[in-house]
């Protein structure tokens, strides 16, 4: 192969490589690929169709223990407390669960509206919500 051809080919190869790298980013040098570890650490949302829900563990008893240690301080042992935040539970009946509608929501004289009166139709985010009274604690809740 002539020296001229070699130079020409090298140029062509280099030029192709350069084009490929330029096409990979309009703004070279800005941003990098996230590692799977990094994504796993931050990607903790769960959709209503359960996409993102991690494999579960634990028991009702363990949940009660966790609740009483971490949540009851503000929300009450049964989630009923109105001391710091509005109650999480209350105002619903077995009939509501059967029909899928909370009767008290259509009563103008019923003052209380709480978390469980609203999302009966769905499911919401699992996040990290460190308890306000223990922000320096290394423990972090796994659900809310």
């Amino acid at each position: 192969m002539s020296r001229f051809l070699k130079v020409l080919l090298t140029c062509a190869v280099l030029s192709m490589a350069f084009t490929a790298s330029a096409q990979s980013s309009k703004y070279p040098g800005v941003g990098r690929n996230a590692t799977p570890k990094e994504v796993a650490q931050w990607d903790i949302d769960v959709r209503p169709d359960f996409k993102g829900l991690p494999v579960g563990s634990g028991s009702v008893a363990k949940g009660q223990e966790l609740w009483e240690a971490q949540c009851a301080h503000c929300h009450g042992v049964f989630g009923e407390s109105n001391e710091v935040f509005s109650p999480i539970i209350g105002g619903t009946s077995a009939e509501d669960i059967r029909v899928g509608r909370v009767a008290n929501l259509s009563r103008p004289d019923y003052p209380g509206r709480n978390t469980l009166m609203k999302p009966l139709h769905g499911f919401h985010l699992v996040g990290l919500h460190p308890p306000r009274h223990a922000l320096d604690s290394p423990q972090v809740l796994e659900c809310r």
Binding site: S25, K26, Y27, G29, V30, G31, R32, N33, A34, E38, V39, W42, D43, I44, D45, R47, P48, D49, K51, E83, V84, F85, R101, V102, A103, L105, S106, R107, P108, R113, T115, K118, P119, G122, F123, H124, L125, G127, L128, H129, P130, R132, L135, R144
Partner: protein, 449 residues
């Protein structure tokens, strides 16, 4: 004709004792009010007094403030860079964002309201921007802040602040209004001043990178990916679903700049989402991640909060856009008109759907309307300042403003709004506000049935 004179809303200028004194004295007539009550009120004020004053010709034939040269006319002022970062005048120290007493039990999951009654134009000074925190605010080291794009993308990406700030930027003026602004007024009059009725509202020039740029860098699937989850980095893990259409239009910005400088910590420093026209909760502060997906996420603050209870017991969900609304900021509740004469009725109008087209003002509770002047600039999804000349004849007057946006949407009356949405909703109250100017000049928050 007397010059128009006005006492600003008491929250900004007087202590509770002072307010009491002013009202008591005011009831005994205006002369006594001016000379006596103010002296009494002023005596109890901790800060310096900046108050409405009469402008009479003194008996000695010359105003002492003219006749005797003050120190600033005869002495040498202070040098440059005395303050490396300038502060408001000491006489404006009472201009503060404030908490509504008793509204929340913790200051970390709470609200402070911007003092709309004393602001000019359309830009909210960054230090007076309203606050809404869900788990307290932080001052985050920008060198340690990271922004991640994942979900339906070719390659999940991580960006540093330096990298985001190297990208091509845009700067745009937009209002931000909490979905719960004016919430306490749904059923009846509840709070006295515009700071508390409408103060979860601010407007800034935001600078940042269109989110679409960052999504494209990660190779986002813009066909299947109809929604984006935006997530904050602080303890509340605030998460909201943003429709992709708002992002592909280039409107949604990943912002670091606010009014020419970096965001304030209370407003999400170093990085927040700007979602023009959409309620404030979606403007995720301390933004750490966006995820591209093909369905809405029904997050806690979409499935439990920020939705509208209807009279039939069902909820409207994903009512994200702040509809056309306006409010008169002067005269407004808590202020006192000291005498008859000329006043400039002024206020703010805005729409989450585009530009404000017109604002009409009534001084007789909605019977007659006059078109207000819209001051420039009139920008899409930004606050618009309006003004209207008014000569007060000393009789009771009910002042209202009614805005219309470029889509033709007209701000509703309370009667119209309640006919559709009842009175038990919390969010998205954009009804016409009424201020009653009483014969004694006191301005009260009222609702016209």
């Amino acid at each position: 004709m007397h010059p128009g004179r006005l006492i600003k809303a008491p929250e900004s200028f007087l202590t509770p004792t002072g307010v009491h004194a002013v009202i008591q004295e005011g009831k005994q007539g205006r002369r006594g009010f001016l000379r006596g009550a103010f002296a009494a009120a002023a005596a109890s004020v901790a800060g310096p007094q900046v108050m409405a004053q009469g402008n009479p010709v003194p008996t000695e034939g010359g105003d002492p403030h003219i006749m005797q040269l003050p120190a600033h006319a005869t002495g040498l002022g202070q040098g440059v860079a005395t303050l490396g970062y300038g502060q408001p005048s000491q006489f404006e120290i009472n201009l503060q964002r404030r908490q509504s007493p008793g509204l929340t039990q913790t200051t970390q999951a709470s609200v402070s309201f911007a003092p709309l009654q004393s602001l000019f134009g359309i830009v909210t000074p960054s230090g007076l921007h309203f606050e809404r925190h869900h788990q307290g605010w932080w001052d985050i080291d920008p060198s340690k802040h990271r922004f991640m794009v994942n979900g339906m993308v070719k390659t999940p990406k991580v960006f540093t602040m330096d990298e985001i700030m190297r990208l091509p930027s845009v700067s745009r003026f937009h209002f931000i209004e909490c979905g719960a602004n004016t919430a306490v007024e749904w059923a009846n009059v509840a709070v006295p001043t515009v700071q508390y009725t409408h103060g979860m509202l601010s407007c800034s020039e935001f600078t940042g990178v269109p989110l679409i740029t960052l999504l494209e860098l990660a190779g986002a699937d813009l066909k299947q990916g109809k929604f984006v989850l935006a997530e904050g980095g602080e303890g509340s893990s605030m998460t909201r679903t943003i429709p992709m259409s708002l992002i592909t239009s280039g409107e949604v910005i990943v912002a670091y700049g606010q009014n020419g400088e970096m965001l304030r910590p209370e407003n999400g420093y170093p990085l927040r989402l700007v979602v023009p026209g959409v309620q404030g909760v979606s403007w995720i502060k301390y933004l750490r991640r966006v995820e591209v997906g093909d369905q809405p996420y029904a997050t806690k603050d979409e499935a439990v909060h920020y939705m509208d209870l209807q009279p039939n017991g069902q909820h409207r969900q994903y009512t994200n856009i702040q509809e056309c609304k306006s409010v008169v900021t002067t005269p407004s509740g808590g202020q006192v008109l000291l005498d008859q004469g000329f006043y400039n009725i002024t206020g703010l109008a805005w729409s989450g759907k585009g530009k404000v087209k017109r604002v009409d003002v009534s001084v007789d509770g909605g019977r007659n309307w006059r078109a207000a002047r819209l001051e420039t600039p009139v920008l899409s999804k930004a606050l618009t300042r309006f003004n209207l000349d008014w000569v007060w004849d000393g009789k009771p007057a009910i002042i209202q403003s009614r805005a219309q946006d470029e889509t033709g949407f007209v701000q509703p009356t309370y009667q119209q709004l309640r006919a559709v949405r009842g009175t038990r909703s919390i969010y998205h109250n954009n009804a016409i506000q009424s201020w009653l100017v009483q014969e004694n000049g006191e301005v009260k928050n009222v609702q016209v049935s």
